[in-house]
């Protein structure tokens, strides 16, 4: 019956051409007994990796909704799984979320059915990576900055203040050149890091968003990256390989995630992180609901659960990320404290420019920006020495 | 007469010194230049090892081998002026017949035109002219055998070694090749050393032969000597055709109490005699009939020339012979 209603409304919407907005759930029924979620590894823990980290068991007992998790390692895998169907929810990152919206794979969320929506960080409530035309296509899950990780033995007098340590050749505080001792991310999205650096250092380019670059701005970013190629021995791709490179390859500074920083500090290595004056790029993930979700009630209950339980607080310490509910840092619902949140970059929100997929139609005009597929092939060229 | 190959108390042992396999166990041997020499023996008797000692694929563990008077103990195969026709021919499958035959000249650095001309000559010698472009796989067994022969002869070796070269051929082809080989050897005047386990082949082709048994030479001599006067019971048994009489029977037939051999041609049937037995087998051979009589536990064959009466199977008869036809020999 519900599907009939959904189909009827969407048909009506199509016929009247009012808006591309799909039907959303208006009321919750009885829990269906399960919910199927596509998630990043480590995002949904039920105490099996570490007993202390469990934000599933209680939900299952309280609601009777069994949580089935399918982990995916890349945004592309997530999109593919959602296209395949059979899942209710996905923890989509900024480079996948808009694709899912554009492809009509996810449905608008009725925030009235999520009581804890009011507790969501005001800075995230209408974030552009899941809000299209004022309609919310999901509920924020977690976010984090791409920090500058550095070796404290080399930077003895305090953290580096600028990303220039990874972009331009210079002598580091230990008296040696940074050549061969810094790393950069092995993904085209790193072009945005270069663009952000240029925002601060070449204001004449007029870059307003590192994800929306016209041809000139884009060319300048690539030039900067070509200079960087001479400094970087190997680009990092896998978090564990980067950690190994900091341990065994003499790498002393690189863009990184709080996750690697935390892991290396756990081994008592002289590692710390900072967000330099230019700011940082970052990622923000959103729980999104499949357009044909078979278990809508459990899905809504789960979304409420992600905001109201220990999940935000514990996941933040587990993953080195930040909660989307600010009070999770202080309310004692989990292991996060004001200090851990600060370490993970909670206060640096304004310095963070979140990953979104570059498209050709941008704020500078339709077709004005360089689309992502060109980022890919050109970044391949840069790493190849072109 | 020059000596082509000489073995001086040669040993070749395999395996650990504590329990060696004595493949060649103290062989002394002289092969005259220009002769057709056969090494005869059952498998494992050491004849092939001796051949490989001449070609250099085996090194003696003791003793000395000389080829035309020169000690070759430290000479590797490719520097010995001897060539081999292998049992499986060992033709190179990726080369055509001409290249196979010219191989020995090619590795010596002879120019293409010259070596191909020589190869054609050799192929003509073995009646395979016009087969030069074929691959070995397209030839019959007999043809391959000739190619192997041509390939070994192209280097003009001073000694040609042949390792059971006719073993893979059918009977008719084999007999034709035997004649051909013999004729070729006569014409070229080369020393041929021929290994075989077929006593008829050895007897019919060789000028002289050595019979091998368990790494030692049991007897060395001309075919006639080997056939008529086998030195040991083993030689008589292996060379075959001759009757081998145990000491008791020799004595009963009027000789001394020793092992003896008696050729079937020298054996006659007699109505009465010191020992009589039953005719157990008859074989018609055209020129005569071979009659086998069981005397006690020993079978004795007699050749009855055509035209003389032949007894029926199961008849009782005795044998007779001239005493000088009886050849006494060692027990082993």
């Amino acid at each position: 019956m519900k599907t009939m209603k959904v189909m009827a409304t969407s048909a009506l919407a199509l016929v009247t051409g009012l808006s591309p907005v799909l039907a959303q759930v208006t009321e919750l029924g009885t829990p269906e007994g399960q919910v199927n979620i596509v998630a990043w590894p480590g995002y949904i823990e039920r105490g099996e990796t570490d007993k202390a980290y469990d934000w599933v068991t209680k939900f299952e007992t309280d609601t009777g909704c069994k949580v089935n998790v399918k982990t995916a390692n890349t945004s592309d895998e997530m999109v593919a799984l959602m296209n395949e169907g059979g899942f209710d929810l996905v923890t989509a990152s900024g480079d996948a979320s808009l694709r899912l919206v554009a492809g009509d794979r996810v449905q608008p969320i009725n925030t009235d059915l999520i009581p804890s929506w009011s507790k969501v960080d005001a800075r995230l409530k209408d974030a552009p990576w899941f809000t299209v035309g004022g309609v919310h296509y999901g509920v924020p899950y977690q976010w984090g900055p791409n920090v500058l990780m550095y070796n404290t033995d080399v930077f003895k007098d305090g953290p580096p203040t600028s990303w220039s340590v990874v972009f331009e050749e210079q002598t580091l505080p230990d008296g040696q050149s940074n050549k061969g001792r810094v790393q950069a991310y092995d993904g085209p999205i790193h072009i945005a890091d270069a663009a952000q650096y240029l925002m601060a250092h070449k204001p004449e380019l007029g870059i307003t968003s590192p994800y929306e670059l016209n041809e000139d701005q884009y060319a300048a970013a690539l030039d900067l990256l070509r200079g960087q190629r001479a400094l970087v021995s190997r680009y990092w791709h896998d978090a564990y390989i980067q950690m190994d490179d900091f341990k065994n390859e003499g790498v002393v500074a690189s863009g990184s995630w709080p996750f690697q920083v935390g892991m290396l500090q756990l081994e008592s290595l002289p590692i710390a992180s900072t967000i330099p004056e230019e700011g940082a790029t970052g990622w923000a993930d959103t729980t999104m609901m499949h357009v044909d979700a078979a278990n809508p009630t459990c899905s809504y209950l789960w979304m409420e659960h992600t905001l109201s339980s220990n999940l935000q607080s514990d996941l933040a310490t587990w993953f080195g990320s930040n909660p989307v509910v600010p009070e999770a840092c202080t309310d004692g619902s989990g292991m996060s404290t004001a200090d851990t949140c600060k370490a993970n970059g909670m206060d640096d929100f304004d310095k963070v420019r979140f990953w979104t997929t570059p498209v050709s139609d941008c704020a500078q005009g339709a077709g004005a920006c360089v689309p992502y597929y060109r980022w890919v092939s050109d970044y391949i060229g840069v790493i190849g020495g072109r | 007469m020059t000596t082509a190959v000489e073995f001086l108390n040669v040993f070749r042992h395999f395996g650990p010194a504590s329990a060696p396999v004595r493949a060649v166990d103290g062989v002394d041997l002289t092969i005259a230049e220009g002769s057709f020499f056969a090494m005869l023996g059952p498998s494992g008797s050491g004849k092939t090892t001796c051949l490989r000692l001449i070609s250099g694929f085996e090194k003696p563990t003791g003793g000395e081998i000389r080829i035309f008077g020169e000690d070759v103990s430290n000479t590797p195969p490719h520097l010995r002026n001897v060539n081999t026709v292998f049992q499986d021919y060992a033709l190179f499958p990726h080369m055509n017949v001409r290249d196979n035959v010219a191989y020995g000249l090619m590795v010596k650095g002879m120019g293409r035109a010259q070596r191909y001309a020589r190869a054609e000559e050799m192929l003509a010698l073995v009646h395979l002219d016009s087969h030069g472009d074929r691959k070995p796989g397209q030839l019959s067994g007999g043809q391959r055998q000739r190619v192997a022969l041509a390939r070994a002869l192209v280097n003009e070796p001073r000694v040609l070694l042949l390792d059971e070269p006719l073993g893979a051929l059918d009977l008719k082809l084999r007999e034709a090749m035997q004649d051909e080989l013999k004729a070729l050897q006569k014409r070229l005047g080369l020393t041929f050393v021929f290994v075989t386990h077929d006593q008829h082949e050895a007897l019919s082709m060789a000028d002289s032969l050595a019979v091998f048994n368990e790494g030692k030479i049991a007897q060395i001599g001309t075919p006639q000597e080997i056939y008529d006067q086998p030195a040991t019971r083993f030689v008589a048994d292996f060379v075959g055709s001759s009757n081998v009489l145990p000491p008791a029977l020799t004595k009963a037939l009027g000789g001394p109490a020793e092992w003896a051999s008696l050729r079937p041609e020298a054996t006659r049937l007699a109505a009465t005699g010191p020992v009589s037995g039953t005719v157990t087998a008859l074989r018609y051979l055209g020129a005569g009939t071979r009659v086998v009589i069981t005397l006690g536990e020993t079978e004795v064959a007699a050749l009855v020339p055509a035209g003389q009466p032949v007894p029926a199977e199961g008849e009782t008869t005795s044998i007779a012979f001239d005493q000088q036809a009886l050849h006494l020999m060692g027990a082993t």
Binding site: S233, R234, D238, V376, S377 | P77, H78, V82, F86, V107
Partner: protein
């Protein structure tokens, strides 16, 4: 008592065997249909889909795939940055193949000609053992061996041979802060990982060369070197070609090793992986993927002309 000349059928197996005897083609059809279906539908089908995609192109502005026939995407392969990838990958594959062949030959030769009994077992174990452990584990282990502060660096330091490594790393085009970040490292790991795939077919081919063939060559006056060039090598060529097909095509397609070891410069596999993903540039990914297929076809044609398959 006489028995019938025809024995009674004991059951289904007897009747089936009889059917196959009367109609041999039925058995052939039964045996071949499943693999041919697999080959035809799954394998050739996906290959056709790949080929088709490579003739589409991506719209410059929207980034949407245009499903119209064009050679534009293949043209893009010749853009300098893309052509670099092809040259880099093919060069690496060729060098890895040569190195594997050079390293594998003595090992295969020993195993085929001299190893007996326990030695043979040890050979198989030694060659196969690395194949039993995870490919990723081996690559990560090599990363540790080659790292700046890794085993090799330490050993060089202890033996005062560090200058050899620094010398290698200063060769233009091969620079890196350590072997693990230099193309030399990528090369070494490729050679290690694919070596067994060269040794095994080579050993099988050498084993089929009869000993008498080598003796015949020596007997006819050839030196070891001449025997090797004119007899052993031509006869082992099918095995070497088979091995090189493995090492060459495996290197052409691999995208894990250059990602972990080396200077991050793209290889064909890495480019395909990146292009088909978020970039959505399936046509270019497909065109890249067609390249190794073409190269292998050319390679096989050359090998055939060289007579590599004559002995088959």
């Amino acid at each position: 008592m006489t028995t019938s000349a025809i024995l009674p059928a004991r059951g289904l197996a007897d009747r089936l065997t009889a059917l196959f005897w009367r109609r041999p083609k039925v058995l052939l059809a039964l045996l071949l249909t499943p693999p041919l279906l697999w080959l035809g539908v799954v394998y050739l089908g996906s290959l056709a889909a790949l080929l088709l995609q490579s003739f589409y192109s991506i719209d410059e502005f929207s980034g949407v795939v245009k499903e119209e026939f064009t050679l534009k995407t293949y043209g893009e392969l010749f853009r300098p940055s893309n052509f670099d990838i092809l040259v880099r990958t093919v060069t690496m594959a060729a060098l890895v193949t040569l190195a594997c062949a050079a390293l594998a030959f003595p090992i295969a030769y020993f195993a085929a000609r001299y190893a007996k009994g326990h030695w043979k077992a040890a050979f198989y174990l030694g060659v196969m053992l690395p194949l039993w452990s995870s490919y990723l584990v081996k690559v990560y282990a090599w990363k540790l061996i080659l790292a700046k502060e890794g085993i090799l660096g330490w050993a060089a330091e202890q033996t005062h041979t560090g200058w050899i490594i620094s010398g290698l790393l200063s060769i233009p085009g091969l620079e890196g802060s350590s072997l693990s970040t230099s193309p030399i490292g990528t090369f070494m790991v490729f050679v290690y990982i694919w070596l067994p795939y060269m040794i095994l077919p080579m050993q099988a081919a050498l084993e089929r060369v009869p000993n008498s063939m080598l003796e015949a060559s020596a007997d006819l006056g050839a030196t070891r070197g001449q025997t090797f060039r004119t007899v052993v090598l031509p006869l082992a060529l099918p095995g070497i070609i088979a091995g090189s097909i493995f090492t060459f095509s495996l290197t052409l397609g691999d995208y894990i090793i250059p990602q972990i070891i080396g200077n991050s410069a793209n290889f064909i596999g890495m480019a395909v992986y990146q292009l088909q993903g978020t970039a959505g540039n399936i046509p270019l990914a497909a065109a890249f993927a067609v390249v190794p297929i073409l190269i292998m076809l050319i390679y096989l044609a050359i090998a055939r002309r060289m007579g590599a398959f004559d002995a088959l």
